[in-house]
């Protein structure tokens, strides 16, 4: 990880709210993070912790209404993505930021050939002619490991398996050589062997192409294997963030600790029942005024119920660059 390099993506104070009939849902609350060139940032959290919504907010992919990005700044290549027009944002999406979604079975358009769907962003953003785009699309398919790429361009999505469709999605996301690739649980819908193949593919592509990657998942095992840095989200905010080795060896937030404990061990003796985190993640009907994890936290004390903890650094580096945590409690027994 090139430490200290200027971030390709710098997100500050992002707030996203869903307006529903029964009131507002505060899905993302003051999320800040940054992404350095070539870095792989893992984002973990339960379903409903705001991981996907955060990433979709960045590039205006949430349907509005009901979603509304209330505040924040998303700097990418000198532009604030939250301040530019929808048309300018369309120029960024697919060109500078590639997106891979969770379910490859439904993410491709069933009535167009795989080739034409890869060619679309090439023609749109890079101004290639149809013939050039077709050649490049074949290259991309070969790059993501689909054999006989040239002939496969004419195939329709339903003729591909789930793993191959996800490869096609990756090819589309990488088509215009983006600075940032956002992968939203790209392996969740795939079976384990295919999952491993896709992981290897992404690792490999990252080495070849050198783009920065945001990898959203709830599988900590995946994160441990590929990420440089990890960001743990809960209740629409970042609760802990840090380099992968540090975060796994010295987790500070009770939620992170609990998450790590839930991973069943494959070695050694079975010691009792599987660990779980009791309770449900909160539905944020208002902006948080207390720690969102307090109801499920074993260490919660008075302060946790009245003040939402700010992120504080755990080492010499400022928040966001080193290891930081948003928690009033500290394991040393403070």
């Amino acid at each position: 990880m090139p430490d200290g390099a200027l971030p390709v993506l710098d997100v500050r104070g992002l707030k996203t709210v869903f307006r529903t009939r029964s009131g507002e849902i505060h899905a993302v609350n003051s999320v800040s993070f940054m992404l350095r060139p070539g870095e792989l940032l893992g984002v973990v959290g339960e379903s409903g912790s705001g991981k996907s919504v955060t990433m979709m907010s960045l590039i205006g992919l949430l349907p509005s209404p009901p979603a509304e990005v209330r505040a924040g700044q998303v700097m990418l290549g000198g532009q604030d993505l939250l301040r530019i027009s929808p048309r300018e944002l369309q120029d960024v999406r697919g060109a500078k930021v590639g997106f891979v979604f969770q379910d490859p079975m439904t993410s491709l358009n069933p009535v167009f050939t795989v080739g034409s769907q890869i060619m679309e962003p090439l023609i749109r953003h890079m101004g290639l002619t149809k013939a050039q785009a077709r050649d490049r699309a074949a290259e991309l398919l070969a790059l993501v490991g689909i054999p006989d790429a040239k002939a496969r361009l004419k195939a329709y999505p339903h003729q591909f398996s789930g793993g191959m469709r996800q490869r096609v999605m990756i090819a589309i996301a990488l088509a215009c050589d983006p600075d940032v690739l956002i992968a939203d649980e790209p392996t969740t819908a795939l079976d384990v062997t295919i999952q491993a193949q896709i992981l290897e593919l992404v690792k490999d592509l990252r080495q070849k192409l050198g783009m920065a990657i945001i990898w959203i998942t709830h599988d900590l095992g995946v994160i441990a294997g590929i990420a440089d840095r990890v960001m743990v989200m809960y209740g629409g905010q970042v609760v802990e963030q840090g380099p992968v080795a540090q975060l796994f060896s010295d987790p500070r937030h009770p939620y992170t600790r609990a998450l790590l404990k839930t991973i069943p061990s494959l070695t050694g003796e079975r010691s009792g029942r599987l660990q779980v985190i009791e309770g449900q993640p909160p539905i944020m009907t208002a902006a948080p005024t207390a720690c969102p994890f307090r109801a499920r936290c074993a260490h919660a004390f008075d302060l946790c119920h009245v003040e939402n903890p700010a992120r504080r650094p755990l080492d010499a580096r400022p928040v966001g660059e080193g290891h930081d945590v948003a928690c009033h409690w500290s394991p040393e027994g403070a």
């Binding site: 992919l61 697919g94 962003p121 996301a173």
Partner: protein, 335 residues
């Protein structure tokens, strides 16, 4: 696709034979006599002779078989003779209308152009109005335009054509005096002014029927668009940075059209069936009017033949709808 079409066409033969038999028998069961419109002053023995001359005294299966031969052999060959100047079936008995004693197909040939120009245009206009309304309504769901489109569709659905047609006559023909009330079947389009006259006289019936057609199709289009708008591939298209126009008019529309095209294709036979009420209201001397007249006059050959032609069209357009479905949706392959 070709073998599938062939198989379906072959399958259509027994289906249509059964349908023809059912139609023939059902129509034959209807009470009444072909002589019901002949004055009572005609003596009974003359009436009997007239019935015999029409062949109406023959047993039903004889008439059915004769009709089959006439429909499937003599009538097509008559057309063949007419086109190529041959004389294969010259002098053979064609299907005759009991009412007018002229060949049924001659009458149909005279009536169908009126129906197709008026009802066909109305269908086309209906589609052309409905598709944009449906697309935009779905794209801006619950907007003012969408509410307006819903109101328009509600009116088109719930107001019967005899009411809307009459209303249009009162407004556009009586009050404003822009358009004629009656459709003149004899008008021949030879120059610009007669063409304009034709357009004017078509306007009211086309509006009346077009409103009803547009209402149905716009609803189909809207709901199909809404279904597809939610799909993941739309989000993918947006994530690729495609312009909103491309997302909606290429990705969403192409998928949404699949069921709508099928509905449109299945509706085409009804054009040939004519629009009985509207044709009557505006005096369009079309196929619908011919059918009603034949039913009133107990003109069994005419009714049977028309009913069977509608059956053929429905079977045919069902096949066409299925083929279109296969062409539009690559996931469906029939072979």
């Amino acid at each position: 696709m070709f073998t599938y079409t062939l198989r379906r066409l072959l399958l259509a033969v027994p289906i249509l034979l059964v349908i023809s038999l059912v139609i023939f028998l059902l129509v034959d069961l209807a009470p009444g006599s072909p002589m019901s419109e002949i004055p009572l002053t005609v003596p009974p023995d003359v009436r009997q002779k007239m019935i015999e001359a029409l062949g109406a005294d023959q047993p039903v299966f004889v008439r059915y078989l004769l009709w089959l031969k006439q429909f499937f052999w003599i009538e097509p060959m008559t057309l063949f003779d007419h086109w190529f100047g041959t004389s294969i079936v010259e002098g053979q008995q064609r299907i005759l209308s009991w009412q007018s004693r002229s060949p049924v197909f001659t009458i149909i040939g005279q009536r169908i152009p009126q129906t197709l120009t008026v009802v066909g245009t109305a269908y086309l206009v209906g589609i052309l109005i409905a598709l944009p309304i449906g697309i935009y309504s779905a794209y801006r769901q619950y907007s003012f335009f969408d509410q307006l489109g819903t109101l328009f569709a509600m009116i088109g659905f719930s107001v019967p054509t005899f009411f809307s047609g009459t209303l249009f006559i009162i407004i556009f023909a009586v009050w404003l005096g822009w358009l004629p009330t009656k459709y003149d079947t004899m008008l021949e389009v030879t120059d610009w002014s007669s063409f304009m006259q034709q357009v004017k006289q078509m306007a009211l019936p086309v509006m009346t029927l077009g409103l009803a057609n547009a209402a149905t199709i716009s609803r189909y289009m809207r709901s199909s668009m809404l279904d597809n708008m939610q799909m993941d591939y739309v989000r993918t298209a947006r994530a690729k940075g495609m312009r909103e126009k491309t997302v909606v008019l290429r990705h969403v529309l192409r998928n949404s059209l699949i069921p709508v095209v099928t509905v449109i294709a299945l509706g085409i036979p009804s054009i040939f069936g004519g629009a009985i009420i509207t044709e009557n209201l505006f005096g369009v001397n079309g196929i619908g009017a011919a059918l009603i007249g034949a039913i009133h006059a107990n003109d069994l050959p005419m009714v049977q033949t028309l009913a069977f032609i509608f059956a053929v069209l429905i079977v045919l357009f069902n096949l066409i709808a299925d083929i279109l479905y296969g062409l539009l949706d690559p996931r469906i392959r029939y072979d």
